[in-house]
Subunit: 234 residues, 2 copies
């Protein structure tokens, strides 16, 4: 009887409190919100010094983000923020549609009017952020909206995959920082909320799909334009 004693000890992902966890979350947040320039290189020692720790936590945090495809491990063994090409961006969008529509459908039976109210609040906050020109706040609220919905779906498989995709999109957001207001910011959040209230699963799935496609629609063009600039100058 060596293996017994509660086979499922509160299925958690990672024990907080470790240094590498703190470093990881900090970096992860910055990447997902697009604070790093695509192609920007990082060093273990540099990160360690910036965070005031030794090499080990920085090292493990970086390698973890590499494993989640949030960072690239170049053949020279240097770690850098991935480059963004229009093609990669399209692939990310397709993958997001496939997984997030699935997550929305899985979440649907667990949704209720309380969630709808909650999403309404987030949506309002997002509008405020737009009005204030708070680009980071806008992105953050958008993420909150999607994740609040998907997290209603039980299970431990889908969310990590979706989070990996959002992480990979992060560096791209860097290129859209100054474009708030000039870009088309209409989303399908109200349609999604309405679908939840109407108990219409297909409408919810459609709203999520369109929200992803619309929100990321006009951007590859802007990307190519920036790409050309960063390739030559810096």
């Amino acid at each position: 009887m060596s293996d017994r004693s509660d086979p499922f000890p509160t299925e958690e992902t990672s024990p907080a409190g470790t240094l590498q966890e703190r470093v990881y979350r900090e970096l992860r947040e910055e990447i997902m919100l697009g604070r790093f320039r695509p192609g920007e290189a990082m060093t273990i020692r540099g990160l360690a010094e910036k965070l005031g720790t030794s090499m080990m936590p920085a090292r493990e945090a970086l390698r973890r983000l590499v494993a989640e495809r949030a960072l690239d491990l170049l053949p020279n063994r240097r770690i850098a923020v991935p480059h963004m090409t229009p093609e990669t961006f399209r692939e990310l969008t397709e993958a997001r549609v496939a997984l997030e529509v699935l997550a929305a459908r899985r979440a649907f039976p667990e949704t209720d009017s309380a969630l709808a109210d909650q999403l309404d609040v987030i949506n309002d906050e997002q509008d405020v952020a737009i009005a204030k020109g708070d680009w980071a706040g806008y992105q953050e609220r958008n993420r909150a909206f999607h994740f609040a919905l998907y997290e209603r779906a039980p299970g431990r498989v889908l969310m990590p995959l979706i989070e990996s995709l959002w992480l990979q999109i992060g560096p791209f957001l860097y290129l859209t920082r100054e474009s708030l207001g000039t870009t088309y910011l209409e989303d399908r959040h109200v349609e999604a909320i309405a679908a939840i209230r109407d108990r219409d699963e297909d409408a919810l799935a459609l709203a999520v799909e369109q929200d992803i496609r619309d929100g990321m629609g006009g951007l590859p063009a802007l990307l190519t334009q920036r790409e050309a600039r960063t390739a030559t100058g810096r």
Copy 2:
């Protein structure tokens, strides 16, 4: 000219030749082919000793597999092969369908009769493995079949996600080891090959979807049955 010099220096995943890479690949292979019992614990020092290295490579390989969800990091900070529940298994299947159908569609324009021939060979080898009762070989050839198809799709986003899913299914395969022959092993590989030859994208997508659903269809029942056994005894 510090940032130039080929912006995409042979987009590789990780520089081979490092020790942790070797340890990682070895473990990864064993996990994906279902050689570990679900819930089985692993220690850094134990793995290091088994592989004849120091703690560091084992440590990084394990953490990388944790990041890819191939292993679980329990709250006690122990690393273990994930438990498999019927619900998690269903979620994995749904995610596989969503992503692999997408991958098949993206690969479709790049497929040709040469690939069809190649898949035919793999399929034959798979039949041989079944006839010989070579369970590991069967799993390996099945993976070869799917990946040979998906790898025709360009891009660096989809494949890692799919590989993560196959890794997560690995521990489940452990439970099916002795069931070769007793289980329903029909697949939709011939239909997929035919669809490629017929240049019928929808038929290919359907074949992939059915192959995944059929192949994993009867298994949750077998899973619950085993689960009950392993929960009490060992």
